[in-house]
Point group: C2
DNA sequence: CTTAGTGCAAAACATTTGCAAACCA
DNA sequence: TGGTTTGCAAATGTTTTGCACTAAG
């Protein structure tokens, strides 16, 4: 059992949620495939292949709960469904995403370089920024070379 | 008729689309309510109140066409539907959005201050950025004061 | 035990599509 | 007139919900 799964159990207990096999299985899947940015349907299909008998409603309810606990984060790349990624426990801010318009791959960059921009937003707009989501669209290294 | 509507007619002719009353009405609505970031359903309901008889399918088809022509731009604030905004003809890049988690308002900021970050992304990840979408979440001036 | 969690099926939305009728160029 | 465009309704795809059953604490 990985370190991250122990976190799950603690988090659920702290929030008076129960640890069930289904929730564990979904969290495991997200942990093992974090770079895939899985959607609810993809998770459901992967669990079905393992004959876990977990229903699609449970997948949606679990993802919603995990997001409420800030263990995972929504990402939306306008492909018709919401995708999820483990939250970065070291950062209050989210990953930034590089979305390749050629092959559709999604890379993460973890830099948090928007602080000066956020300060400017506060000064110019009086808007207090707590979080941001940044997506860069372009061509990834692999596609660019080929 | 506003300057922007003349642009629409030109754009449609240039792309061998026909200018119809429905397309004009939808573009007018978007122009008059640009700061509202309207969704397809909101546009449909507003047109229905005016008894224009425009169908929801036409709204979706028109929005899709206008986006293809780069006259409008999708924005997604994870509220269950896609919203649209007039493209800024002076900028190849999109508006950034300030989304208030208190009152739900969406403000635009037009600054294009991510260029140094994009350069860094190219150097560190070999990713060629063509466009970006940035959303800042926080508390707007009005909510912060009240 | 007792309440929260689950699977199933139906419902609810957002969006897309097929098609005959209407309309622009 | 002839090919687009439209409205309608049906279809699609994603997500949510009601409910009886199950299981965690």
């Amino acid at each position: 059992m990985s370190k991250r799964n122990i976190d799950l159990k603690e988090q659920l207990n702290n929030s008076s949620y129960k640890l069930t096999g289904q929730r564990q299985a979904i969290m495991d899947l997200l942990t093992e495939n974090n770079s895939e940015h899985l959607s609810a349907d993809e998770i459901y299909k992967m669990l079905s292949e393992k004959n876990t008998g977990i229903g699609i409603a449970t997948v949606y309810r679990t993802l919603s709960m995990l997001e409420k606990l800030k263990l995972i984060t929504k990402i939306n790349i306008d492909d018709g469904c919401v995708r999820y990624q483990l939250s970065d426990p070291r950062s209050e801010h989210e990953h930034h995403h590089l979305i390749c318009e050629c092959c559709g791959c999604i890379q993460d960059i973890k830099d948090d370089l928007l602080e000066s921009l956020e300060k400017q937003v506060l000064v110019e707009n009086g808007f207090h920024v707590y979080n941001h989501k940044v997506k860069f669209y372009g061509i990834c290294k692999k596609c660019y070379i080929e």
